[in-house]
């Protein structure tokens, strides 16, 4: 029997929890999964890398390669292809639907197509690829100081390294610039990183669980990592990456949000109405990181 997991029509961090709930319900059966994206109208980079993480988890879970029905809307299909999604999805899913053969990252809004991150060399490649494209976008479209480009590359590097250092498996990163009409009515650059690895709680459990006692869980683990700068390594220099990302985003009125297991933690800027910590979500493996940097101007910082 095949278990259906519906991909939300508007697939981003806001609808990801519904997707995770559908995934968790389907995974419980241990049967082959069918990810149905035929009606998808839009997906953010977070949605795309999250879907790949789901495919990764579904394969780990059990037996057969999960199925994926591609979007039927030609514009959506074309965008997913340009964003490099199908290049990665082909290895994880049995894809059904007519997938266009488009070279990823030919569009100006795709700053970095969906890119696998498995080792330090991948992080080097990502940082190297992003700098030239990002500096133009950050300065001309987001009105950020040109000096902010280096911090952006740093934030991207540290986000990707979380996969290499902690996930215990590979993951994906994607960076895109788009006009966020619904929320901000201005341009944003979004970095999305996702894996279906061990997640923050498992990674920190050996060193932190005792300290937190009964409070220990996905939320406490995220809090320890993002707010207290705790790392699974005892080396005193560890745990600075997330703190550095948070500092960078605070300077530019940006947002960081990390979902892992059953919790999501966010450092919420003024323009957003998200909650700082949400627990009791549907379980989803690994970690999904979202960084948003808005166009500068009144009301962002």
């Amino acid at each position: 029997m095949t278990r259906l997991v519906e991909v939300p029509g508007q697939f981003d961090d806001r609808t990801f929890d519904a997707f995770a709930a559908a995934f968790a319900a389907a995974a419980a059966g241990g049967e082959r999964m069918l990810f149905d994206a035929h009606a998808a109208e839009w997906a953010s980079p977070y949605g795309l890398v999250g879907l790949l993480a789901a495919g990764q988890a579904a394969r780990k879970n059990g037996s057969e390669r999960p199925l994926l029905t591609a979007p039927t809307n030609p514009d959506v299909l074309s965008y997913w292809a340009r964003a490099g999604f199908f290049q990665e999805a082909g290895e994880l899913f049995e894809v059904h639907g007519k997938v266009p053969k488009i070279k990823p990252a030919t569009a100006s809004d795709v700053l970095l197509p969906v890119t696998p991150v498995r080792a330090a060399e991948d992080v080097h490649q990502v940082v190297s690829n992003i700098q030239q494209r990002a500096s133009a976008i950050l300065a001309s479209e987001l009105l950020l100081d040109p000096k902010a480009t280096m911090g952006f590359a740093m934030a991207l590097s540290e986000s990707c390294q979380n996969i290499v250092e902690h996930a215990g498996t590979g993951g994906w990163v994607a960076v895109q610039s788009y006009h966020w009409r619904r929320k901000l009515a201005r341009r944003v650059v979004v970095i999305a990183v996702a894996d279906a690895g061990v997640g923050f709680r498992h990674s920190l459990e050996p060193t932190q669980a005792k300290r937190f006692g009964d409070r220990w869980g996905d939320g406490a683990a995220l809090e320890a990592a993002l707010i207290n700068g705790v790392s699974r390594f005892r080396d005193p220099g560890r745990g600075q990456g997330l703190a550095g990302i948070t500092r960078y985003l605070a300077r530019w009125g940006g947002k960081i949000s990390i979902r892992s297991g059953t919790a999501r933690i966010s450092v919420v800027p003024k323009w957003d109405d998200d909650v700082p910590l949400k627990e009791g979500l549907a379980p989803f493996p690994g970690a999904q990181v979202l960084l948003i940097i808005p166009e500068q101007g009144s009301g962002t910082t």
Partner: protein
């Protein structure tokens, strides 16, 4: 007295074609190469002058692996030159986290310290006391031994 290290060259020798100091494995490889250089019999490990000219992005992980660990375990004085604002952005919080400081050399040759404030003041004072630096007429501090 001063061991000169060109970071761009060390980076190339360590990881090949990449121009950015990012990731811990890269930081470790670069640091180990520097450690071998300053441990050579002809080198004096008291001051290591690291030139960052030509280095693209430096992330926190690399700043910690290279700058903080060299200071903690290997050399008394690290003199950094060719730093961009982006490099400083990575190095300063890492040093503050370890309560360490390094000396930076400005384009005009004068020195300053970055990192933990008290450690920075102590470093500059020690350089003067050891006669490796001297106060300038303008009230700054400059290196004696170039």
């Amino acid at each position: 007295m001063i061991c000169d290290i060109k970071m761009q060259a060390v980076l190339r020798e360590s990881v090949g074609e990449y121009g950015d100091l990012v990731t811990r494995p890269t930081g470790r490889a670069v640091r180990e190469r520097i450690e071998r250089t300053i441990a050579a019999p002809e080198a004096d490990p008291l001051i290591a002058r690291m030139d960052f000219a030509g280095v693209g992005c430096l992330d926190y992980s690399c700043a910690d692996e290279i700058v903080a660990k060299l200071l903690r375990d290997r050399v008394r004085f690290l003199l950094l030159v060719g730093l961009t604002d982006g490099h400083r952005e990575a190095i300063e919080p890492v040093l503050q986290g370890h309560r360490l400081a390094v000396v930076i050399q400005r384009d005009d040759g004068t020195l300053d310290a970055i990192g933990e404030a008290a450690a920075g003041v102590a470093l500059l004072r020690e350089l003067v006391e050891r006669r490796m630096a001297r106060p300038t007429e303008g009230g700054a501090i400059a290196l004696v031994a170039a």
